[in-house]
């Protein structure tokens, strides 16, 4: 029984890590309708900047946790203003392709700046130890990841449900013309949402770096995983993304435990099964466009 409990904790921790990586992508897709394939690259920048900050300039993980997402947000701002804003008229598919091209460009930029060595961000000393749960040793950092992930989930939920901005965002999700008609600057909403997505991607990068490491092509692996979570959850809902993250986290963890050789296969299989039976994802709403 202990081992199942321990694997449950592993699954939760991994699932919330996935949530942190995916929520920005989900937010942007929900409101802008743009599937941002450069999301993985923003995540990667978060991780690399955290590495530079902790390894070279300062030893503080906490500083990196604040600074790296801000820098990534600036990159996201530049991307939105320069590349996406002038091209909204081209349609969603074209914009997906733009972000796809951007991911390729960012890939080589990152390798020119940071090289291609395998790197890692050290766990802050206050979270470095292990704690014993179910008779098993767990790194404290993993437990902290669960905690941080839940905080972000609650924050996002509260913003969406309880604030004026959240109302605008929800309105934008269901009817873009309407909020334009209400005199709200839709372009500004798009920019703000994209930047928030960038912050979340950067944050995910910093938090995940001590666990998942930093290596060439990390962004594409992360992106694919994030897309799977996004699709399983249903595009554009925070609740769905959280549910899907936890589901994927638990399925991966338990499949590694029970059927280790099939674990990669199973996550994609899970996605295929869910899409076939629930074509809009676990909690997805009927999205009108195709």
């Amino acid at each position: 029984m202990d081992i199942l409990g321990a694997q449950l904790v592993n699954g939760l921790s991994y699932g919330l890590l996935l949530f942190m990586i995916t929520c920005g992508l989900s937010l942007i897709f929900g409101i802008l309708g743009v599937l941002n394939l450069a999301h993985g690259s923003l995540y990667m920048f978060g991780a690399y900047i955290a590495y530079s900050l902790t390894a070279t300039y300062t030893q503080s993980f906490w500083l990196a946790l604040v600074v790296a997402p801000i820098i990534v947000a600036l990159i996201a701002l530049a991307v939105e203003r320069i590349l996406l804003r002038p091209t909204y008229h081209l349609g969603h598919l074209s914009q997906v392709l733009l972000t796809f091209g951007l991911a390729y460009v960012f890939h080589d930029l990152a390798s020119s700046v940071w090289g291609s060595n395998v790197l890692s961000v050290a766990v802050p000393s206050s979270l470095a130890g292990t704690a014993t749960i179910f008779g098993q040793a767990f790194p404290v950092y993993r437990l902290a990841v669960i905690f941080i992930g839940l905080i972000i989930a609650v924050l996002l939920w509260a913003i969406q449900e309880k604030t004026k901005w959240g109302a605008i965002i929800r309105a934008g999700l269901s009817d873009k013309e309407m909020i334009g008609g209400l005199g709200i600057n839709i372009k500004l909403v798009f920019t703000v949402v994209f930047v928030i997505g960038g912050i979340l991607a950067g944050l995910g990068g910093v938090v995940a770096a001590p666990v998942l490491g930093i290596y060439p092509s990390m962004e594409f692996e992360t992106l694919i995983l994030a897309l799977v979570v996004l699709v399983i959850g249903g595009l554009g809902t925070i609740g769905g993304t959280l549910a899907a993250s936890l589901l994927v986290g638990l399925v991966e963890t338990f499949s590694r435990f029970l059927l280790p050789e099939l674990s990669m296969f199973l996550v994609f299989g899970l996605m295929a099964v869910i899409l076939v039976f629930k074509p809009n994802g676990l909690l997805g709403k009927q999205v009108a466009h195709s």
Binding site: I3, A6, Q7, N10, G11, S13, Y14, D108, S111, G115, S116, N117, V118, L119, S120, T130, Q136, A137, F138, P139, Y141, R142, V211, L212, G213, I214, Y215, P216, S217, M218, E221, E252, T253, F254, R256, F257, P260, E261, S263, M264
Partner: protein
């Protein structure tokens, strides 16, 4: 409609122009059939020896490619890029670690650059992919990294020689030592790809032959990003140690998480040199301490040759050499010595491979020579232990297995 066809035809015209300087394919392929031995090479009797290197400069293996390249350049620099008065020209091509791209590059090196000798390949898939083209074109090829067993076994070619290692050498050398020094029961964890499978199979073979028992094994997928689940299940295993084969980012994550989940105090970690490789260890620190690994070279190998190599490398590049730097350095030396032995005449591939096969010297890794039956290098293998020195980890060579020869089947 008309425009489209005009475009298609203009493409063909462009191609024709591209080819204006080359000889036509019909000619070269029929010539190849008519006279297999004559090689029309500008470099053969000319003033420069052209060495082609196919290495990954982008993609997941990019850092390995760079180290191999730097190692080669260090050696060629030390002989002034000359052999027997002839200039050595190194032409590097990026494989992107993709076999298809690599084959295209090799064809370019053969047909456009007319190289005399080929070296490189980090990924075994790349080496296998180019094997037939190299063989049918009679191009001498010195493999300087790719370790797949079959390259010097079922896929052996007269023109392919390997100076690096085979999966078998890496895995097998640990078996007996682990049985005598770690314990009688081992658990095996290896990345699920050909290299991981081959190395762990060789380890199991040697370990069980020595009398040991494998109590369990697990093969996480390559590029698996979280080992928590595997490590949690591993805790309950009744074993004296864990043998692990992982490389690159997998190795960093595995070794770090192995310590974080408190397994290091329970089972000693045993593996291949890549688990605690020179460039990874600065990242893994200090979780790597206490690991035993089998390898064919180490930074701290205490020989005159190695100290000179390390000193020269650090002076040139201002960073520590890795095992790949050493592989590049040795490959360059083997090529230079073979060319020197031939008096600088590399026009006959049969003579080039014969010269390569006769090269033997004391490398920074110890004495090396080629096994003429398998075309694979005979070298010492070392067992290292990773220790904490002033808060940083260092490997120490604690055991030497001399002149290890791949069985070739």
């Amino acid at each position: 409609m008309k425009k489209k066809w005009t475009m298609l035809i203009s493409i063909i015209v462009v191609f024709t122009m591209l080819a204006a300087c080359g000889e036509s394919a019909i000619n070269s392929s029929s010539e190849a059939e008519a006279d297999n031995n004559s090689k029309k090479k500008s470099g053969g009797g000319g003033e420069t020896i052209k060495v082609g290197a196919i290495l990954p400069f982008s993609g997941v293996y990019a850092s390995l490619g760079k180290d191999l390249s730097d190692g080669m350049k260090l050696y060629f620099e030390s002989v002034n890029w000359e052999a027997e008065g002839k200039k050595i020209e190194l032409i590097e091509e990026d494989t992107e670690a993709d076999p298809q791209v690599s084959l295209r590059r090799v064809r370019k090196l053969m047909d456009q650059d007319n190289i005399d000798i080929l070296t490189g390949a980090v990924s075994t898939a790349v080496a296998y992919a180019i094997r037939n083209d190299v063989d049918s074109n009679k191009l001498p090829y010195l493999v300087s990294h790719a370790g797949g067993n079959d390259l010097t076994r079922s896929k052996r070619s007269d023109y392919i020689w390997r100076s690096s290692f085979s999966s078998w050498q890496i895995g097998h050398s640990m078996g007996e030592w682990a049985y005598k020094n770690v314990g009688k029961k081992m658990y095996v964890a290896a990345a699920d790809y050909a290299f991981g499978r081959e190395v762990s199979a060789a380890f199991k073979e040697a370990y069980t032959a020595a009398g040991g028992e494998i109590v369990g094994e697990v093969y996480p997928p390559l590029g698996n990003n979280d080992y928590a689940s595997y490590l949690t299940s591993m805790r309950g295993v009744k074993a004296d140690g864990v043998y692990a084969f992982f490389a690159g980012s997998d190795a960093v994550r595995f070794v770090q998480q192995y310590e974080q989940y408190g397994l290091k105090d329970k089972f000693p970690l045993v593996g291949s040199g890549w688990l605690v490789a020179e460039d990874l260890r600065q990242t893994i620190d200090p979780a790597a301490a206490g690991t035993f690994a089998s390898t064919f070279w180490d930074y701290n190998l205490n020989t005159k040759e190695n100290k000179e190599f390390v000193k020269a490398y650090e002076k040139a590049y201002n960073r520590r050499p890795t095992i790949e730097s050493l592989e590049g350095y040795d490959a360059a030396r083997i090529i230079s010595e073979a060319v020197t032995k031939l008096g600088g005449d590399v026009s006959d591939p049969e003579k080039v491979i014969e010269a390569i096969s006769n090269v033997s010297f004391t490398s920074p890794r110890g004495p090396i020579e080629f096994d003429k039956d398998t075309h694979h290098v005979i070298q010492n293998m070392y067992i290292t232990e990773t220790k904490l020195v002033d808060g940083k980890t260092e490997n120490e060579v604690i055991h030497t297995i001399e002149t290890v020869k791949d069985p070739g089947k």
